[in-house]
Structures are given as C-alpha cells and as structure tokens.
Symmetry: C2
Subunit: 141 residues, 2 copies
DNA sequence: AACGAGATCGGAATAATTCCAATCTAGGAG
DNA sequence: CTCCTAGATTGGAATTATTCCGATCTCGTT
C-alpha cells in the first residue's frame, strides 16, 4: 500500500493526520519488516526530536485498531509492530538463539476456516502463527 | 503427564529437584491451563512464603528449555506459561476485549509439515497459533 | 481567523522481568 | 551418614517496557 492510499484511509475513518503520525507511517512503510516501539521512536525523532513514547504507542494502537498495523508477540516477550500489507500478510520462522526471523509466504487458512465453522459465536479478527526453532547458523555453532 | 513421570524426566536431565521447583510443578500440573508468573508465585508462596520472582522465572525458563513448559505470548504483550501436555498441545481463541480464552482442539499440522519441507535448514522446535477476536459476550455488549 | 475535540509533550508512575551478592542446599562421593 | 561443592535461592535493587496525566498545542471544520 502507498502512503497516499493509507492517508485516504485515515481520512475516511475520521482520523486526524498529524506530522507525528505521518512520520510514523513513513517509517513503517519504509522497509517491509517489523519494528520495536523504540526503533520507531528513534527514527521519528530524527525529524521530530520532541516526539514521546506515549505518542508512538498511542499511534501504533490507533493504527492497529484500524487494521493498518499488526502487533507481533514473539517468544521471550518481544513485541513488534509492522505495517499490515494486507494481501501480503505473513508469518515468521523465528530463531530462538539469534532472534532473527524470516518471513513465510503462507498461512493456515484452512485451519482458520475450520475454526470459524466450529465456533460461529466468536468473531475472528486476526491470528498469529509463528514457528520457532534454530536457524542454520545457530545450529552449526 | 503425572508428577512422578515429570520428576524422572528432570532427573534424567540432571536437574536438581528443589522444594520450590516441586511446588511450581504442582501448580502447573494442578489445573490444565496457563498461568502468569505472578499467579504461580502467589500459589507457591502459600507453601513457601519466601519464594522470589527470580526463582519462578528461572524455573519456568529451565522447564521451557527442557520442553516441560510452553510460553505463550498473547496480543497486548501478555506472557503466560503452561505445562506442555505434549500429546495434547493446543491453541486458543482469545477475546481481545475480556481477555478470556478458549482452547482449540486442533493445530495447523499440515502447514507445519509444509514449512519443514520448504525450509529444511531450519530446525523447528515449536510454534504458536492464536486466534483473536471477540467472544459472544463482548460482542453483545 | 476562531474554535474545540482530540493530539502531543515530558516526566512521573506502574508493571514486568532480570540482575546480583550473600547465603543455602540437593545429591553425589567417600 | 557426613562432607562438599556446583548450582539454587533470596531480597532487594536495577532495568526495561509501557501507560498515565496535567498542561499545552493543533488539525481541520465552520
């Protein structure tokens, strides 16, 4: 998704577009990967030195509510955020030693369909699917 | 798994069995559900008032390394721990509003098989699969 | 250009987790 | 059974991540 498409979407939702929010969006759209709240803060502060953690967190949760951002919770309690490139949503192979992760191209769609059938009373909005183990490098050392 | 089976397994691994560890195991085996570190601490302190958080965390990570305990990371950054009833491992439907969760009976096994085929260099040890949404109660209110 | 709902700031508060030095103990060796 | 030591525990402090809050500011409508 482009920045402009994203901005229209924010306007549709009646969300104010502030310079800080714009900058956070640019960071998220910059590289297609996930970020910690702190990384985002640091990058945004290059342009707006006064931005606070509060703003970063509030904005991320706002974006998450709208569906623009995904929150990932990895083993060890690491929280990360990434832009939701919708059609391209993905999962990860996460190395338990070095912590690096690799994107996967597919998703347990069949299971989700089955879950929805079996639990019609539950309104599914999202899911997580992460695979843990050891990457080649870490296994060899 | 029973307590005795678990203890033999610890001995096999050359892990010391201390009263604190025993008590933590009893908590985990007591009810088949997941616990926060604090819940475990509180329960253990009923018998050993002096137990510290440090011990609870160290023990949980030790058990996790051995494969006795699973760490669950939910949306919002909540970390929980549960005994790994191996053959009966399971996933959850988690309500984003009230936070309650319901166990699911199945698991994206097919996907895992495919992932292992496509990424043979990665040694998979575990995975997480959590489904988020709103439960009936929360949707109605 | 003025207004007001909502956003931001900075710093303090809270919560979760880890660290550490001193002390203790499980369980193997004798 | 006792001794011994590697490893475990404790309590409290340190660290880290996240949230809260009162004062101030600003986007976007009128």
């Amino acid at each position: 998704m482009t920045l402009n498409e994203t901005l229209s979407r924010l306007k549709e939702q009646g969300v104010k577009i502030t310079p800080q929010r714009l900058e956070i969006l640019k960071v998220l759209l910059g590289e297609e990967r996930y970020y910690s709240a702190e990384e985002i803060l640091k990058k945004v502060q290059k342009h707006y030195p006064a931005v606070s953690f509060d703003t970063v967190y509030r904005t991320l949760y706002l974006f998450k509510k709208i569906g623009l951002v995904l929150e990932l919770n990895f083993q060890g309690g690491y929280r990360r955020f990434e832009f939701n490139h919708e059609d391209k949503h993905h999962h990860h192979l996460v190395c338990l030693k070095c912590g690096k992760s690799k994107k996967l191209s597919f998703c347990p769609t069949d299971c989700l369909a089955r879950i929805k059938e079996e639990h019609p009373e539950f309104a599914v909005t999202s899911h997580s699917f992460e695979i843990y183990g050891y990457c080649r490098g870490c296994r060899e050392s």
